[in-house]
Symmetry: C2
Subunit: 299 residues, 2 copies
């Protein structure tokens, strides 16, 4: 049995697992980072490899935050949560004496790849909702990268021209309304005492505190508008909503689906389905394994 190592790089820790597409994960764990530095990234990777060396791994698939250019796999632009993590290929943290094929992709792309495998679909779009908004497109079983690797930057489509300022510097991006950080910033601007509350508590206040309800409802509406435009352009058969905030039911799937359909041309609306991601926090690792397996089977 051929096994693959999947690694999901995050700002607070590395998730990893061993497995294959057919049998799923044989093991899964998270290692928290001691600090945010390239040195800590390297030693965390070494630690993972030490833990999994008893398995006969034949390839490594890495999911990374940030915008990756294709085909060279380099991270371009700024990673606001990981400022040192740019202008390099994530595979560079792997020690030179590890002679295994390595494949890298954006973490939201890999989440979408893994989740799409659980659905019957031709064209699938994945949306991760957490501190920011990530996106991935999987077409006929493969990640769609666009011309340079920058496709599916869904969080920075503009839903309200000249609207709220986004962390990216533009105004009116869906991320400024629908991400957890966006919701917090909007509550802060309203001097709401709830802005800094833990997310589960904040969500539970939605039914009782009108300002919380209003800001979350506006986040839901912005997400509906962003997704309606995306579906008008792409005509996917399924939208998969994941990420930490969706695990906590920040937005309601039937509300999203109905809202999106109301804004779509009739033909596009007819077949669309919205679902919740099913792999939870393991999606990135599973996607890394699947990417690696596919690339090595192709060769």
């Amino acid at each position: 049995m051929k096994l693959f190592l999947g690694i999901d790089i995050g700002a607070s820790g590395f998730k990893y697992g061993i497995g294959d597409t057919k049998n799923g994960l044989q093991c899964f764990d998270t290692i928290r980072l001691s600090e945010k530095s390239l040195q800590s990234f390297r030693s965390t990777f070494a630690q993972i490899f030490n833990r999994v060396k008893k398995w006969n791994v034949c390839g490594i698939g890495i999911g990374s935050p940030g915008t990756l250019s294709f085909p060279d796999g380099k991270i371009v632009g700024l990673n606001p949560n990981l400022r040192f993590w740019t202008n390099l290929n994530p595979a560079e943290i792997i020690p030179e004496d590890i002679n295994l094929p390595v494949f890298v992709d954006n973490d939201a792309n890999l989440m979408t790849l893994a989740e799409s495998g659980l659905q019957d679909c031709e064209l699938c779009v994945g949306i991760t909702i957490g501190s920011g908004i990530g996106g991935g497109i999987v077409y006929q079983g493969s990640v769609f990268h666009g011309a340079h690797g920058f496709a599916a930057e869904i969080g920075h489509t503009i839903v309200y021209p000249e609207g709220e300022l986004c962390a990216c510097g533009k105004k009116g991006c869906v991320e400024a309304y629908s991400s957890v950080d966006g919701i917090r910033r909007r509550l802060q601007a309203l001097n709401s005492p709830y802005a800094g509350m833990a997310l589960p508590n904040l969500i539970s206040l939605r039914n009782r505190i009108s300002v919380v309800n209003k800001v979350i409802a506006q986040g839901e509406e912005a997400m509906i508008r962003a997704m309606a435009n995306l579906c008008t352009i792409l005509d996917p058969d399924i939208l998969i909503f994941g990420g930490g905030a969706m695990d906590l039911s920040l937005y309601n799937i039937p509300t999203l689906e109905q809202g999106i359909k109301e804004l779509l041309p009739e033909a596009n609306a007819k077949h669309l389905k919205c679902v919740l991601a099913r792999y939870g926090n393991r999606a990135g690792v599973m996607g890394g394994i699947q990417m690696c397996e596919r690339m090595m089977t192709k060769e």
Copy 2:
């Protein structure tokens, strides 16, 4: 030499031509429709076939307005300018005794296919600006249809939530601002005497009449916003603007390119190029020929 017949179905007439990808068009002509009816469509097709029978045609590629479902090729939904032209496959107008392979696609998809062949690109998006707004996506040399054939309905992406009413019934679509009909409707709503003017004259007034300038500038701005969102989602390397209104320079290509880049994530903006379509009114016919040739070479 293998030759193919391309037909571009329009509400006022059928354009047709004979040729192949390598050598281009050997002949090209337009037949105006005597009336808008299925019967007239059938007789126009028969007329074309009579004219071209001296050529040794080995396949037919048809471009049609409207939303075509894939893979069955049926037109779905309403065709506002051709109300009888729905719920059928365009190939049905071909007499039964013509035993040639027939392939159909949306006219804007075929325009994009033809124009993309003139560019060095991985992912190309074509936009036709006329009475409405059409769109097509060509990825690695093939039309990208989405999951059901409805991709690239660019005209109905919403740029201004709760904005101007569009002919489709929704509010704020780019078509309501940037299409020629949209511009006329907006001038009408302002009681402008220029609303009904022929398009070349209307465009020439832009520098002298402030209301005309304002409405056209708003159309350009809406187009910029729609394309910025599209590029954020798709990451194309080139946007090709065509259609009758662009042949008359309704919008300025450098203005569009600069405006779109200002609204894009840095990585996406870096490589983007906007160009004017080069086949003019022959793009649909040329795209039909190329589609047919490719499909028959694949088989």
